[in-house]
């Protein structure tokens, strides 16, 4: 969607002049989103953008695409990377370890072209003024992506983020040790299992507490609510054995029997099952949380078209099948062939039912405007 300002600018200047200006400006905030005025990309909801026409074509680009990626997604065996590398030069990878680290590094001057953040941070990337929207007309696979995730990746109607991998966050527990009468996140606070519970070391615990306690909008709590949830967590903290920071640590603890109940991603469910434990990946009545990661495009990439081609390969159904099979993550492409996957896994992740990701069954990760306050509250919980 183009803003009124864009239209006025275009009208006043005339198309020719406007394109020249757009090219010169190279997609600054105001102009991004209006250069591609070829008509066909005008009407897309997803906000086709970027001054595509004024850029060098893909053959004129050097093709040394710089990708800022999570380790494990660069493997030459990964089919998305493989398909891209068949047509274009191999991308140059740098690895990120968390969303905040990626943001800080780019803010400090690092210049990748494509970054793989998660959906809750897209707004931060836009705020930092370092990204520009994708031109979805350049990507044939985008139409197959989950519409709710695509929508979550828009800021001011522009598609700044293309969703790729996703998963649930939910309580995982040993069915042979834990006796639940009800499926609820409140299992995290159960005195009966004191010393066998692990929370994720993340301010998301405040969200969980918010849902358990029936706060209106846990993602946007006011000072009073935040204070209440903080106190609530502090009062429950003694039942917790540890706050896990890496999935490997959690999986090891589950395997060793140190932990029976944990905040977990689907990968931990698979790992615990593989370790021979009887486990359940809960569907709490308050709804699961879900995370979605994907791609943002850094402004003025010299490999603009390569960047789109790279993300497009990531979005393909083959990529989806590979990611689901090899990493036990979901993928935003809803056309993947699920018959080759473990049916139990398909069931747990509800891969056949994209609506499983919608409210109130699941709460998709999103931008927390008061993250600083949330983090301070979470620090207080840990320090208590």
């Amino acid at each position: 969607m183009r803003s009124d300002l864009d239209r006025i600018l275009e009208k006043k200047l005339g198309r020719g002049q406007f394109l020249k200006l757009a090219a010169a400006a190279g997609g600054t905030g105001i102009l991004a989103g209006c250069g591609a005025s070829s008509g066909e990309s005008d009407n897309t909801d997803t906000g086709a953008a970027g001054a595509t026409e004024t850029r060098p074509s893909i053959d004129q680009e050097k093709g040394d695409l710089k990708v800022f990626e999570w380790a494990g997604y660069e493997l030459p065996t990964y089919i998305g990377v493989k398909a891209y590398a068949k047509k274009y030069p191999k991308p140059k990878y740098t690895f990120l370890t968390s969303d905040d680290q990626a943001l800080s590094k780019v803010r400090a001057g690092f210049e990748p072209e494509v970054v793989h953040p998660c959906i809750g941070y897209v707004q931060d990337w836009v705020n930092l003024d370092v990204v520009e929207p994708f031109d979805t007309s350049l990507m044939k696979n985008v139409k197959d992506l989950n519409p709710a995730m695509l929508e979550g990746g828009q800021v001011d109607g522009k598609q700044y983020f293309i969703p790729a991998d996703w998963g649930f966050s939910s309580p995982l527990y040993r069915s042979d040790k834990v006796d639940t009468s009800e499926d609820t996140w409140a299992l995290f606070y159960d005195e009966k299992y004191k010393g066998k519970i692990s929370w994720w070391d993340s301010l998301e615990n405040l969200l969980v507490a918010g849902y358990v306690n029936g706060v209106d909008d846990p993602w946007n709590m006011d000072d009073g609510e935040l204070e209440d949830m903080k106190k609530f967590l502090i009062s429950k903290k003694h039942v917790v054995r540890n706050f896990w920071a890496s999935q490997t640590d959690l999986d090891a603890d589950f395997k060793a029997g140190n932990i029976w109940i944990a905040y977990a991603w689907a990968g931990s469910y698979v790992a615990a099952k593989d370790a021979g434990h009887e486990v359940t990946y809960m569907e709490p009545k308050e709804g699961r949380l879900s995370w979605v990661c994907g791609f943002v495009l850094i402004k003025d990439s010299p490999n603009y078209h390569h960047a789109h081609a790279y993300v497009d390969e990531w979005s393909s159904k083959f990529s989806a099948e590979w990611i689901e099979k090899n990493y036990a993550y979901g993928h935003a492409n809803t056309t993947a062939d699920l018959s080759k996957l473990d049916p139990g896994f398909v069931e747990v992740l509800h891969l056949r039912d994209p609506s499983a990701l919608q409210e109130p069954k699941a709460h998709m990760d999103r931008y927390i405007a008061r993250r600083k306050e949330y983090n301070a509250a979470w620090d207080e919980v840990k320090a208590a």
């Binding site: 680290q101 070391d201 054995r241 706050f243 840990k382």
Partner: protein, 304 residues
């Protein structure tokens, strides 16, 4: 008074020309380390200092030139201040325990054996050839609910199955255990050096004058090795104040320290200003403690 004061200027006037005598060679020798210090120490410290008062801001919307983060941190009720004292306390306990344990080791190595002294010293350091994370993982294997120690208790019937000793893993005890394990060899080194340089004739003289072995140790060996002991204490105290990896790995729900708070603020908290305040405060505190210890230590004794 005037008489007392006289020697001081005299010694100074003797020293000064000596420094003046050094020339280009000195400058050339000093320049590289000085440059290193400026680039990798002084400038970063200034930058962090600027960050802490909003002279540099990282994210749009951060307040520019403000002392508010300092004010809220220095507030006595501030959660971070509490964490600072928690870290200091932990650090003091760990340092003291380490020194007490390391002393006999160093004593044995320096005075007890003569033949295989350096081989044994090497053996102490051998575990450090492997990665830190690996060693922590090994501790978890030993201390876990189904680990070596608990399994032993189950099998001997000292504790019922499924009733492990809960404090073994994920507690402050674990943090101190692992920190102690990591630091003892390093702590043993300075003590070893000071004992190694001990003039043995003093011990002979002590026994000639009728001192028992214990008296000789208390009146001769211990005082003479004290600089090494203090150096060892500083060696572990300073780095463990800011320690955050070990507490987060094995500290459980009590493992949140001052260093972890700094990490959180620079990381998921997106609050670099407060993070910088905490870092600068820690820097100041470490500097303060170092000065105290340095005074205590007396540089002359350390150099012998």
């Amino acid at each position: 008074m005037a008489v007392d004061a006289q020697p001081v200027p005299r010694t100074r006037s003797i020293r000064r020309p000596r420094f003046r005598g050094k020339n280009v060679t000195t400058a050339a020798l000093i320049a590289p380390p000085l440059l290193w210090l400026v680039v990798f120490f002084a400038i970063p410290v200034v930058l962090v200092g600027l960050l802490s008062v909003g002279g540099i801001v990282l994210f749009p919307g951060d307040e520019v030139w403000t002392l508010s983060s300092w004010k809220s941190f220095l507030d006595l009720d501030s959660v971070y201040m509490g964490l600072f004292w928690k870290s200091i306390k932990m650090s003091l306990i760990v340092s003291a325990i380490c020194v007490v344990i390391a002393y006999p080791i160093a004593y044995f190595l320096a005075l007890g054996t003569s033949k295989h002294k350096y081989t044994l010293l090497l053996l102490i350091i051998v575990p450090f050839f492997t990665s830190f994370l690996l060693r922590v993982a090994a501790w978890k294997f030993i201390l876990g609910d189904q680990g070596l120690i608990n399994s032993f208790f189950y099998s001997t019937g000292l504790r019922a199955d499924e009733h492990p000793i809960p404090q073994l893993l994920y507690s402050q005890f674990t943090v101190m255990l692992v920190l102690g394990y990591v630091w003892i060899p390093f702590v043993a080194l300075p003590i070893f050096v000071s004992l190694e340089n001990l003039d043995r004739r003093l011990l002979e003289a002590a026994s000639d004058l009728g001192a028992s072995r214990w008296q000789a140790f208390r009146r001769v060996t211990l005082p003479l090795s004290l600089p090494g002991v203090v150096a060892a204490f500083v060696f572990i105290f300073i780095p463990t104040i800011g320690e955050y990896v070990t507490p987060s790995l094995v500290g459980g729900n009590k493992g949140f320290m001052f260093g972890n708070a700094i990490q959180d603020l620079f990381g998921p908290g997106f609050d670099w200003t407060t993070g910088a305040v905490l870092s600068m405060f820690l820097f100041g505190a470490v500097l303060f403690f170092t000065l105290i210890f340095a005074r205590f230590l007396s540089m002359r004794q350390l150099s012998t």
